[in-house]
Symmetry: C2
Subunit: 144 residues, 2 copies
DNA sequence: TATCTATTGAAAATGATTTTCAATATTACC
DNA sequence: GGTAATATTGAAAATCATTTTCAATAGATA
């Protein structure tokens, strides 16, 4: 059993929730996909393997995974909630290609430091931040 | 006539649109409010002065102002589109207080530069970016 | 003033997400 | 293993911000 399943099981036990085959399948498919999926996209993938799982269940599983720290939501401002793996992934920023939709996760410690000091200069106690750089990726720039 | 009205009028003429009293009123109220309003909040303010203006008209005016560069949309990730004055306001980032909702517009040239180089390191041609730092503002920190 | 067509506002539609609810499944306990 | 308590499921309905529709109205141009 992978670490993520353990985390989910531990959370389920601690909150008097229940283990279900649906949650297990949804988690496995989420973990095996290295993309920013939307709930709808995940539901489609899930249905390929088990057509009896409804999208409500997928939505609810997403919320659950988010609560136990396996998933985090990403908002690129197009009105669709996407999500990414959280366990084992530290904080990072995003470079998002507006042509093909691909993205890169990046981290620049100097930017992080400057953000900290920027907040402090204004009396803010920062808790989290979101940095997204939109543009054209190398491949899309070449295609013209 | 203030500069913003001129800009709107010029845009309206150039696109064969029409000047209407509704647009004029909505623009004036938008300009006189130094807050991040949502469409619904703006509509409420507008209705105080003219109860005959529907929210559809307010929504459409927002899109129009956005197109002529008077307004830009701000998305703090709560599912509600808010907007701010754009004319005369350069690019800036946001410090957002998660307790009281207040925000500060900030700019740190060194962060901007580092973002540029971060993008280039990864072959990205950046077009725009969004940086939001969430936290607690000075006043809310004091309140405990 | 006449005509063309952009604009308006109410209501309906949209689309992502959430809630409801009756049926079912899981867990703890006997 | 059986049973009771209750969490979960899935379909359908509800939500909520936003957008579209459409018939009536009102700017702009000639």
């Amino acid at each position: 059993m992978h670490k993520e399943s353990e985390i989910l099981e531990r959370y389920i036990k601690s909150k008097d929730l229940r283990h279900t085959p649906q949650r297990e399948k949804i988690l496995n498919i989420f973990l095996s996909t290295e993309k920013h999926l939307s709930a709808d996209e995940l539901h489609k993938l899930v249905k390929k393997r088990d057509s009896d799982i409804g999208y409500t269940t997928v939505y609810r599983a997403i919320k659950l995974f988010s609560k136990c720290g396996l998933l985090s939501e990403v908002d690129f401002g197009d009105g669709i909630m996407r999500f990414e793996h959280k366990y084992g992934h530290g904080h990072h920023d995003h470079l998002v290609c507006t042509k093909c939709g691909k993205f890169i996760e990046v981290i620049k410690p100097r930017i992080e430091k400057l953000q900290e000091s920027l907040a402090k200069e204004h009396g803010f106690k920062p808790t989290r931040h979101k940095l997204q750089i939109f543009g054209t990726c190398r491949r899309c720039s070449m295609k013209k």
